[in-house]
């Protein structure tokens, strides 16, 4: 599967959220989308997932425009994990995860497996409204796992913002697992260390434009990121000899 983003511009009235964005990605990779607040990360991801139509340009998956796909085709190829999952109605966590199979047909085994992966199987009959922010984020991940077709695309908007360290680690493993099965995995992240840990490539946005795009190790340096975020960064080396970007 190949994702191609061609000259995507998104305007909301006078505000330009994205300006002339070009990029591409192949299956089997985890791509992190980074950037300061209001740099256009969520808009880019929503455009990639076919949830909105760009003002100009196009996003194609294997040559097919994602915003022109039928709802069924899009649901079978693209799974979406929002930053904050919202549900109105008295649903259990399991029912919310089952909704991932709405267009592509029910599968008890896929739903149960997804709930097990995010460690919510024993809480699956709890009501959604009683769930914590972290549980909701894991449930949204489970819904995407139950929905995804291996070899498709998984798009995540800050999927780890409410997770503790244990679940952050397992989230990283799940994303890498999906990529190893041929998925294109694209996630907007604020945690640079987590991005360096899981991403094969990064796209860095600033004011709606791509300012960095390439292999994670080559692109993420103290000087490149420091200028974008407006902070001084340094390398720090841990006991295992691994390098981390830290604020000076």
């Amino acid at each position: 599967m190949r994702l191609k983003i061609s000259d995507v511009t998104m305007r909301y009235g006078k505000l330009t959220a994205l300006q002339g964005v070009h990029s591409s990605a192949d299956g089997g990779k985890v791509i992190a989308v980074l950037g300061p607040n209001a740099s256009g990360k969520t808009t880019l991801l929503r455009t990639i997932a076919g949830l909105t139509t760009p003002s100009k340009g196009k996003v194609e998956l294997d040559g097919v425009r994602v915003d022109k796909m039928t709802p069924h085709d899009r649901a079978s190829k693209i799974s979406w994990v929002p930053r904050i999952a919202e549900v109105s109605g008295a649903f259990t966590i399991r029912t919310v995860v089952e909704l991932g199979r709405y267009a592509i047909g029910p599968s008890e085994s896929r739903v149960t497996e997804a709930l097990r992966q995010v460690e919510l199987l024993d809480r699956s009959e709890s009501l959604w409204h009683g769930a914590s922010a972290g549980m909701r984020q894991r449930a949204a991940m489970a819904r995407a796992l139950a929905q995804r077709t291996p070899g498709g695309m998984l798009v995540l908007d800050e999927p780890s913002s409410a997770l503790d360290m244990h679940h952050l680690k397992s989230m990283g493993e799940m994303l890498k697992q999906c990529a190893s099965e041929g998925d294109i995995v694209i996630a907007a992240l604020h945690d640079i260390s987590f991005a360096m840990e899981i991403a094969d490539a990064v796209i860095v946005l600033k004011e709606g434009r791509i300012v960095l795009d390439g292999q994670t190790n080559a692109v993420l340096t103290p000087s490149s990121l420091g200028g974008i975020y407006g902070v001084d960064l340094n390398w720090a080396v841990d006991e295992a000899g691994k390098r981390h970007l830290v604020m000076a």
């Binding site: 979406w80 929002p82 109605g89 819904r143």
Partner: protein, 326 residues
Amino acid sequence: MKIRTTATIVFLLLLLFAGIALRLLITRQVDGSITLAIPEQEFVLYRVVPLISALIVGAGLGVSGMGLQVLLRNSLASPWILGLSSGAGLGVMATMYFEHTYGATFVGSESGGAILGAVGTLSLVYVLSRRRTGIDPMTMVLVGVVVSVLCGAGIMVLQHAVPMGLRGSFTTWLMGSLPEVESWWKLGTLGGATVFGIALISWWGPTLDAACLSDDEATSVGVNLPRIRTRLFLVSSILAAIGVMLAGPIAFVGLIAPHGARLFLGGSHRSLTIATAIMGACLLVFADDIRQIVDIGSGRLPIGIVTSVIGGVVFLGLLLRNRGRV
């Protein structure tokens, strides 16, 4: 169907049958005492017609409220939030005004005016709430409120313009009442349309479940949001308009019935639609039962007053329970 769902629907049906039996048997004697007795042959129809009307209006308003709660993502939504009541009221008032002032006679008279007013108002709300990507729920609520206020102003202007005697007729209509005499053709047509509308919404149940996610999430799992919202709006509006046509503005059934059904069944809309329809019918039938029993010295209360008193208390409870989330 799960055991809990079946048990709930059987329980609600038994409750409904109890309400129906009471309505048929409750008899007020000349001295004001209440007895349970099989009515004489000549009076049966005067109990059966309002009973059938209560079933149609209650079931339709309940399911209409449920549909609008999904459409507007607001657990306090009901048919009246979209200006249906004030639109229908304006239609009735306008009919009365023209009949009185110009001596004109309109087909269907008051109920015709009510249905025209309701459909006109809902069409206006629909057109003004449309965006490039379909109906916007928040815009729809705001437009509904504004249209309601404008219709309210129109009603006041017409009330001011008609003689005092007509104002009384209009006030009576506003209280809502179940007809004791109605043509079988009309009951059959409106009943059939209500059953069809309820069946449609129940059939769309899984889509309604998925439409309870946020817009992006619902779209990502494959819901065609613009299509389901338009369908829900149309069917919910028609169900509510049928209620207005038969019984005038009956408040709160559309709000309470879905919440009552959810207490038993949770959020799955296929079975919830059926339970809501039975719950709505129960509410109206029991309200009519209460109406037969309570006499505050001025005859039987209009049914709209009974549903308003019950509904007002439940509405406040919901409001307090949902404080901060609504």
